[in-house]
Every structure is written in structure tokens, then in C-alpha cells.
């Protein structure tokens, strides 16, 4: 089987207990179980992680970066969604 015909998997690593899994890269594999082993062999060779997730790339639904302006409203007209929008007396601290 040609290498290109294998499915691509995205690899996510939790670098430390308690943290989120972060995307670190991808690899080819013939099954999710093998993808997990390959990810172990490639991506955590220097104890970079305590947990690995692999997801077949075709299972990821992504937004188009070129279309992001139409898809995600930056909400520039809604400054009141930010805490800094509210001007409080100087004597009010830590709010």
C-alpha cells in the first residue's frame, strides 16, 4: 500500500496532567490504534506528554480561514462584552 493512501491522523498531546490537549502535528496510519502508537513513537520521545489523542483528519470539521470575516463576527460594535468597558471609581480594586 502506498504511503499516500493511508489516512492522516491529527495528534493532540496533554503535556502535563491537568492541562488541555494541544494539537502538535499529524501522521499517517492504518488504524486509530496504530496512529496512537506512531504518535507515541514520534511525538513523545522526550516525555513531552502524559496523554495522547488521535483523530482522523477527515473527522475534523473546520472553518475556512479565508472566510473567517464572514463566519465570525469580531463584535467590534459590542465593547460592553469586555470588563474594561466599565469605568469604576479608582477606589474599587480587584473587580
Amino acid at each position: 500500500m502506498k504511503q499516500e493512501q493511508l489516512a492522516i491522523y491529527e495528534v493532540f498531546i496533554r503535556s502535563n496532567r491537568g492541562l488541555d490537549h494541544k494539537h502538535v502535528g499529524s501522521l499517517h496510519a492504518e488504524s486509530p490504534e496504530h496512529a496512537l502508537m506512531y504518535a507515541r513513537d514520534c511525538y513523545i520521545r522526550r516525555s513531552e506528554g502524559v496523554s495522547i489523542w488521535v483523530v482522523e483528519s477527515t473527522n475534523i470539521t473546520a472553518s475556512e480561514e479565508s472566510d473567517i470575516e464572514n463566519f465570525v463576527d469580531p463584535m467590534d460594535d459590542k465593547p460592553y462584552r469586555h470588563a474594561t468597558h466599565y469605568v469604576l471609581p479608582d477606589s474599587i480594586k480587584n473587580m
Binding site: R17, G18, D20, R40, S51, K78, Y80, R81, H82, A83, H85, Y86, V87, L88, P89, S91, I92, N94, M95
Partner: protein, 351 residues
Amino acid sequence: MKYNDTLIDNILYKRIILLLSRFGALSMQVIDKNANKSYEQELANFEQKIADEQKIEPSDWMPEAYRKNVIRQMSQHAHSEIIGMQPEGNWLTRAPSLRRKAILLSKVQDEAGHGLYLYSATETLGINRSEMIAALQSGEAKYAQIFNYPTLTWADVGAIGWLVDGAAIVNQISLQRTSYGPYARSMVRICKEESFHQRQGYEALYAMAHGTPVQKQMAQDALNRIWWPSLMMFGPHDADSAHSSQSMAWKIKRISNDELRQSFIDQSVPQIEVLGLEMPDPEIKWNEERGHYDSGEINWQEFKEVVNGAGPCNYQRIKHHKNAHQEGEWVREAVRSYKEKRAKKQNETAA
């Protein structure tokens, strides 16, 4: 290397068991004994993680009582976010200006999102959202008692943002260090979004406290009514709290009810002074020795009654939730049928 060692150990172990069982040398008793031993090992392992300030993740082994305890606390938190939309939502169409209306709408939308984060995070413990909603509607699950009080005037909306969200923030900051990973991470996200809630409330109440004498009176009245139920949000005194000691031992809770309440009082008193309002509790007084404010005793009878369903709005809150849920059935129906149709289409093109 460690990983490989355990892997090899496991494989060896399984092969030995297999061999032994083939020769009939392994009785059921031995298997049971092994299972018991592994429970004890798992428990010791779990307790070690807690002791080492490690997070417990969904795929980790955990005692059943821990799982139940976290489900109870997280679902109660999720329900509070959702039911909490009602008292403020009552003022959306009556906000005094377009600016105030946009702000309030945005805050209430945030709370819906907080409910969603928390329901999803709770599902990692093996319960689903429908089960949680059923428990809320049957009264089996609780939510913060504060939301069973009515919002009588616009000043209440300001006081809620400042005091109720303020009390929630004090609690939620401590929960960023809770031992269950998904709960801790959702608290980090929620706390980031909460600070606008408190500031908009304080700003709204400040405007009223510095407005006409009637407006100032409304602000004072809102403070007097909402202060006490806000203090109750932290729950019973430590000595009387049913779930507290186990929750503290498992680090689900990180700071005790009374300690959290004290820090809320300490941060709020100077804020009341800046508003120029009277203290809602005549016994509030700085205690030099303790380095904290002293305050009067909470009406625990009222707390008990409201938690057990006899507050001014308990019936209304759950009834409204049931109605909204029923009226929303057509949306869920549409989603389900879209999903089915789409799956059918994909099957057809695949075939």
C-alpha cells in the same frame, strides 16, 4: 521506558493467567482476589494523585462516591447558570436604556454558555444532559437558592451582577483548583467571562446610588434584600455542611464555605462604602484582631426553606423551565429529523 515496562508486564501477566487457566490451575477465587487487590491499588493510586495535587481526568479510575459527588456539584452548578437567567431575563424588555438592554442581554447569553460548558463537562463522568435536566425538573437536583428570589426593581439587576456574580466569582476562583480536570478547566474559562458581569452590575448600581433620592432609595432597598441571600450562596456553616468534609478531602472543594463567605464580605464592605449606601447589616464592623469584618448571623431557617422549595419563586422557576423545555421540543424534533435525513442521504450516495 516506563511505558514499555508496564506494557510488557501486562502482556506477561495476561499470558501467565491464560496458561494457568488452561491447566485449570486458576480457581475463580484467585481471580477475585486479584480483582480486589487491583481495586485497592487503584484507590491508592487515586489518593496519591489527589495528594500530589494532580487532576483526575475522565479516563482515570475514580471511586464511585467521588464520581457521584462531582456529578452532584457540577450539575448543580450547571443548573444554577441556567435557572439564573430567569430573574435577570425578566428585565430584558424593561431595561432603562438601549445600552443597559444590550449589556444585560449579553450577560444572560453568557450564562447560557456557562450552563452549556458545565453540562458538557459533567457528561464526561458518564451521565447525560437529559438525565440531569430530568433531575432538575423533578427537584432531585438543586440549584443556587439565590435564584428563587424575585427581581422587583431595576436596581435588583445591578445588585445581582455585583453581589450574586461577585459571590459566584469568589467560589469559582477557588474551583479553578478543583481536583476534577474538566471542571477546573471550565472554571478558568468561566471566570474570564464573569468579570464583566460583576463590573456592569456595580456600574449600574453606582449610577442609581448617585441618581435622584428615589433612585438611591431603590439601590439601598436592592442591597438590603439581596445581601443576605448572597451570603447564603456559600452554603451552611462548615460545621453543619453535609458534603463538605469529603469534598475537601478529595479536593473537589478547595476552600471552606465560611472562609469563602468571609472573603466575600471583606471585599464587598469597601464597595458598599464607595456606593455611599448604608450597610445592609448593622453588625458589620472591622475586627482589627481578626483582620476581617465581623457580621451578623444569617437566617438559616430562611435558607433551609428556600433550598427545600418554599422560597418566593421556586415553583415559578421550575415551571418556567418545564414550559420552555416543552415549547422547545419542536426545535429538538427538527434537529433529530435533519440528522436522520442527512444520514439517509449519505447512505444513498455511498451505495
